[in-house]
Subunit: 136 residues, 2 copies
Amino acid sequence: MPAKDAFAIGALSAETGVNIETIRYYERIGLLRKPARSAAGYRLYQAGDVARLCFVRRARDLGFSLEDVRRLLALADRKSRSCEAAKEIAEAHLEAVRAKLADLRQMERVLAATVKACGSGTVPDCPLLGALGRLA
Amino acid sequence: MPAKDAFAIGALSAETGVNIETIRYYERIGLLRKPARSAAGYRLYQAGDVARLCFVRRARDLGFSLEDVRRLLALADRKSRSCEAAKEIAEAHLEAVRAKLADLRQMERVLAATVKACGSGTVPDCPLLGALGRLA
DNA sequence: TGTTGCGTCTGTAGTCGCTACAGGCTGTAC
DNA sequence: GTACAGCCTGTAGCGACTACAGACGCAACA
């Protein structure tokens, strides 16, 4: 018996800001459990599903992979007192973020310098293209 | 008539640091032109191909999309005196890089704070999981 | 009672930039 | 001759969606 306050996928999408197709995708890959269905086959969600999907969205916003999200969800479900496992996941991810940050900063520096070298575009032999390499 | 100093794909890969499969991929999508072939069908490259592929690699290292790389290559080929078009591409990309940088910095801040809140993992009710949202 | 128009369904294919096979041919060294 | 590395094509997989096509459901309004 689906509760009275059940709602369809469009409402869940609106509530969480997660695309409808993405919600179905999450279900397909087993990140979200399969919801109840109406007689016509419509997915029927409840308040708990909103919370769960918001959790996923926040984790995704923080850049966690879906695999990480899956693990974090499992941990949150288990309500284990200590959060060592969660912390491990987050720390590993934080390191990855910092590595990517360093890469991007480097890119930014080089790009900015290169663009600047181009000045107003009146330089003969574009230094930007030159920086990438002479062809033949 | 392929020049005497022609070499196969493995050498091009070693020379440029670009994976063999990636080179073939670049050729398939038309980023690199099709090289001459030996009697047995082996790809035969020349010095110019090394320069070209290095150009691609540097651009990729700077985060340009393959579509951007394609355009930059075309510009470099045209040897047009002014580099306005190249500058436009680079500036647009630089902006995208900066946007991503801002995103990542935000992620880093939140993640670092969250991990820190977890402390040594002895806190009851993991604040990390809590930050993502209560389930049920 | 239509019919309009949106919402939802499934299933498949496309995106980006590779990467990894499988299964076969080539070229060289011993 | 035979072992073994290198090369070939073609296809499928990755992550995380996104975008259809084509069919059905449902509520409102004339």
